[in-house]
């Protein structure tokens, strides 16, 4: 099982921001979503999501609200703030540059 540290910290932030960019989600849903989309490649220890979520919240990139789920339970839903959206764009662009660069290096040799 992959340890949380195996994911570069910035990458986990990017994943979280991207995941909630469409609609507010609670922690479990975020974890599930990351696993599904990545085709079960990115194994995140589910609990390690929470320190990251709270850190992002302290940075005011995401905000949280307690709401009822479809099943009628209270859950904490996270959504992007304006600053978070800007951060997402910045980090996505960074990621794009980085992965292109790495691809270039890997493929030419």
């Amino acid at each position: 099982m992959a340890k949380p540290n195996d994911l570069v910290q910035g990458t986990l932030d990017l994943l979280i921001l991207k995941t909630i960019s469409l609609e507010p989600k609670h922690g479990w849903a975020i974890a599930k979503r990351i696993q599904q989309i990545s085709g079960e490649v990115l194994q995140v220890q589910q609990g390690s999501l929470y320190p990251a979520l709270h850190r992002l919240e302290q940075k005011a990139w995401i905000k949280a609200k307690w709401k009822e789920t479809e099943t009628g339970r209270q859950a904490k839903f996270y959504s992007l703030t304006a600053a978070g959206r800007a951060q997402l764009e910045k980090e996505a662009a960074n990621w794009g540059r980085l992965s292109t660069a790495i691809n270039l290096v890997v493929e030419t040799t």
Partner: protein, 881 residues
């Protein structure tokens, strides 16, 4: 925008920590429940589903901590833990905490309050612009310690017009001004001053305006400016008074302004700005005080060079006005108007400094003692993984807590102490302008001192703990015998210092007490009970010559003597024991005596010596007819006889008073001595008796002090006596109505009492703290040596041996402390010398009694732990083995 939101979020986290922690648990629980539900849906048993969910989630406790770390404020959280723990530590040993906090608080209180007084009274008493460039002009003779600052109006004008060193030169007076508004005239303290006074002093008015050039133009309406206190007292702070016309000295003046509270130039109620003219006669004023604002960069030598020819010309015009050999120079404003208690205040400040040191030493000592007992606790913490930084932080928090509590209490006490000190400050001893308030920089300084002290000594356990002594400390099971010695010697040194300094303080206080006793026990040579005194200053406009003035007083005395219950009443130009009227040299015709030292002149009515109980030794007193006839007769005191007639008979001899003919324009200044009276103190209580000469008040009519001997409480007679004055002249004011004893108290006794009360308080506080120090170190040693004492007892040592052991230990601090203190007090007493009277600074009685006192209290402080040591049961003590 982002940062604002971030701040908001972070503050929310700070203030809703507990709720957030609760909700974090809910969040985790929700996550697990979701996963469990999914797992069950996938076909697992509930049990299995739970374990799987928890496996995929991770360790909730670790995650919880990690998450909370992201909230930040960890330091703060630890601080609040340390803070609460610190409070618990303080509460756990209430005796220690109370002593430490109280010691510091007392030090903070005393130092802050005392320095605040010094700052307000000595260092920064005046509100005037750039006080350091305001200078008086002083002329003095190298042969004499006295100098003059007063000049006639003509002399002032000459100086003001010719000097080039001053930007502006002003003259001022203190004069009695009669203000007539209602039935009874009020006598005010007036300052007849130059128009430019307010501009030169550089203080804007509170209301209205100050005089300008235009107010000095010929024919311009006369103006007046009111002092703040008078304005508040008479007009209740009504700004509408500006523009009102008022009758001062029978002249109408328009009030143009009110000065702010601290503008108390010459302490005046009312300022009467005028344009000084040559030859002008100011009522009741011989001399004006001259003050100039020095131009920037003018040196003292330049000033002297500039002023010298001016004074030389003045002397050439009036040779008698200045001494034969004279010098001229500047006197700074602060020296011109010094506080009478300046020296006392500095001495008290020194005392307070010592008290602060004792307090700090005491706290250090307490902290060191406690650190010994906490050695084990710290070791346990360190071995359980507390880092050195964390330990330091914890101890730091505890120390800070201790000094913060002391700071709060100390500051509050300082506030009270300041008011208490001001309440006993002798009357008229501080400049009118002085405003004494708690001095914030000093408060911060003393707080800093106390903080550093607690810090320094509060951290020692942590420093010890980090020196790899963990194992030793743990092994020693909290007794700390081996590690104790160095600390004992460190705190022992502190105790020696405490004892030494308290010794110095107590010696100082003892010397002051002896001074006050000497002053209070002094035989004044006059009676002071049942005497009512007052001043009746006659206006020279309405009482133009000597005969009118003296007949007013003769009529007044006649009326007062008729009152049943009055024994006698008298008039004089001055009053025993404070001062005579004039001080001037005399001549004895037909002898070669050239004694230029002055003689005190009393111009009296018939019963003056009767009122004050001054015995007639030879000859006779004046008769009514002689007084009425203005006979040139004199009575002298024993001092006079000793100086001028040591070997011959004084009665019948002639004495000339040249100043009467030169200044008061008397044709005949020769007096025949008809009587000799007993000496009485006449220049204050602490100066030797000067030769005196009494002559009838009718000759110059310059008497103004009335003394009445009553057969009941003198204060009760004030109104009745004043009514006699009003009966003769309804517009004649009466001022300074007081009993002799209260006058003596204010003018003579309150000064030394002020120093003695404060010194005694500081000394007893210092002594108490030192005794606590001795007690602390000895009782700590006894506690640490319980085992040793048990062994000694088991081996056959008796109670006396144990007592000797403990006392010998205590003597190691007390005896050197007394030795050092005795040496230091020799120097300290010399500083105190100027305040002492009737007792030598090296008074053996004081020194010996203080030694005995310190030995007694010191060994009493050892006695309590010694008894504890004597009761040690060898069996119990050895059981710890």
């Amino acid at each position: 925008m982002v940062s604002a939101r971030r701040v908001w979020v972070r503050l929310g986290t700070l203030f809703h920590r507990n709720r957030r922690a609760q909700r974090l648990d809910d969040e985790f629980q929700f996550h697990l429940d979701q996963q469990i539900t999914e797992n069950i849906a996938a076909g697992m048993s509930p049990e299995e589903a739970r374990y799987a969910a928890m496996r995929s989630f991770g360790n909730p406790t670790v995650l919880n901590e990690e998450t909370r770390d992201t909230w930040g404020w960890t330091r703060l959280e630890q601080f609040s833990q340390d803070f609460r723990y610190g409070l618990r530590v303080l509460r756990r040993s209430p005796g220690f905490s109370a002593l430490a906090i109280l010691s510091l608080a007392l030090g903070i209180m005393a130092a802050t309050a005392m320095y605040s007084v010094i700052y307000g009274v000595v260092l920064h008493p005046f509100p005037y612009r750039d006080v350091d460039s305001l200078m008086s002009i002083k002329v003095w003779s190298p042969d004499s310690s006295r100098y003059r600052l007063g000049y006639t109006v003509d002399q002032f004008l000459e100086i003001a017009e010719r000097n080039v060193i001053f930007e502006g030169t002003i003259a001022s007076t203190i004069s009695d001004v009669v203000w007539r508004s209602g039935e009874q005239p009020l006598r005010l303290r007036g300052n007849v001053c130059t128009m430019n006074t307010f501009a030169v002093m550089g203080v804007p008015p509170l209301f209205g305006r100050v005089p300008t050039e235009a107010d000095g133009a010929p024919g311009a309406p006369r103006v007046a400016v009111l002092g703040y206190k008078f304005w508040m007292r008479q007009f209740g702070g009504d700004p509408g008074v500006v523009g009102r016309a008022m009758l001062f000295n029978d002249t109408v003046r328009t009030v143009i302004g009110v000065m702010p509270p601290r503008f108390m130039w010459r302490g005046a109620d009312v300022y009467l700005p005028i344009v000084f003219q040559r030859g002008e006669f100011l009522e009741g004023v011989h001399y004006v005080h001259v003050l100039g604002r020095l131009k920037p960069g003018v040196t003292e030598t330049q000033a002297e060079t500039d002023l010298r020819p001016i004074i030389a010309d003045l002397k050439q015009r009036e040779p008698a006005a200045f001494p034969a050999k004279w010098r001229v120079g500047l006197l700074s404003f602060k020296e011109t108007f010094p506080s009478g208690i300046r020296e006392v205040l500095w001495i008290l400040f020194g005392a307070v400094g010592m008290l602060l040191l004792i307090a700090c030493a005491n706290v250090s000592n307490l902290l060191l003692t406690r650190s010994a007992s906490r050695q084990r606790e710290i070791a346990v913490r360190a071995s359980l993984g507390a880092t050195r930084g964390r330990l330091l932080r914890q101890l730091l928090t505890e120390s800070a807590l201790l000094s913060a509590l002391a700071a709060v209490i100390g500051a509050a006490l300082a506030f009270g102490a300041l008011r208490a000190i001001l309440a006993i400050v002798p009357p008229e001893s501080i400049p009118d302008e002085a405003q004494v308030a708690l001095n914030r920089p000093v408060l911060l300084f003393t707080l800093g001192v106390s903080f550093v002290t607690t810090l320094l000594f509060g951290l020692t356990p942590a420093l010890h703990a980090s020196r790899g002594q963990l194992v030793t400390a743990l092994k020693e099971s909290g007794r700390g015998i081996g590690a104790g010695f160095r600390r004992v010697s460190a705190s022992g040194g502190l105790v020696v210092i405490e004892v030494a300094m308290s010794f110095v303080l107590v010696v100082g206080a003892t010397l002051m007490v002896r001074t006050v006793l000497a002053i209070e026990n002094e035989n004044l040579g006059i009676r002071t009970d049942h005497v009512l005194t007052m001043r009746i200053p006659l206006s020279s406009q309405r009482y133009t010559d000597a005969s009118r003035r003296s007949s007013f007083f003769e009529e007044l005395l006649r009326r007062i003597e008729l009152l049943p219950g009055i024994e006698a009443a008298a008039i004089n130009t001055g009053m025993h024991p404070f001062f005579g009227g004039m001080e001037t040299p005399v001549e004895i015709p037909g002898t070669a005596q050239t004694d230029a030292r002055p003689v005190l002149i009393h111009e009296v009515s018939r019963d003056y010596t009767k009122v004050f109980g001054i015995a007639l030794l030879e000859g006779r007193l004046f008769t009514d007819s002689e007084i009425a006839a203005r006979s040139r007769l004199a009575i002298v005191n024993q001092g006079f006889v000793r100086r001028y007639f040591p070997d011959s008979e004084p009665l019948g001899r002639i004495v000339r008073v040249p100043r009467l003919s030169s200044e008061s324009h008397l044709a005949d200044d020769a007096f025949q001595i008809v009587g000799v009276v007993k000496d009485a103190l006449n220049r204050g209580l602490t100066r030797e008796i000067a030769p005196e000469l009494y002559f009838p008040h009718t000759i110059t009519g310059s008497g103004e002090f009335l003394a009445v001997l009553t057969n009941t409480d003198p204060a009760g007679w004030a109104k009745t006596v004043a009514e006699q004055v009003y009966a003769i002249d309804p517009s004649q004011p009466v001022t300074d109505v007081r009993s002799m004893s209260s006058r003596l108290n204010d003018w003579e006794y309150s000064g030394p009492r002020f120093s003695v009360v404060l010194l005694a308080i500081f000394a007893s506080l210092g002594l108490t703290l030192a005794v606590v120090g001795v007690y602390g170190v000895v009782s700590n040693a006894v506690a640490q040596r319980t085992h040793e004492i048990g062994v000694r007892k088991a081996l056959g040592a008796g109670s006396r041996d144990v007592l000797r052991l403990v006392f010998r230990f205590g003597a190691r601090f007390i005896l050197p402390g007394i030795g050092i203190g005795a040496a230091a007090s020799v120097g300290a007493a010399r500083i105190l010398g100027s305040q002492l009277w009737g007792v030598s600074p090296h008074d053996p009685v004081a020194l010996v009694s203080v030694v005995v006192m310190l030995l007694t209290v010191g060994f009493l402080a050892c006695w309590v732990p010694a008894r504890r040591a004597m009761r040690v049961d060898p069996v119990v003590a050895l059981r710890y083995e």
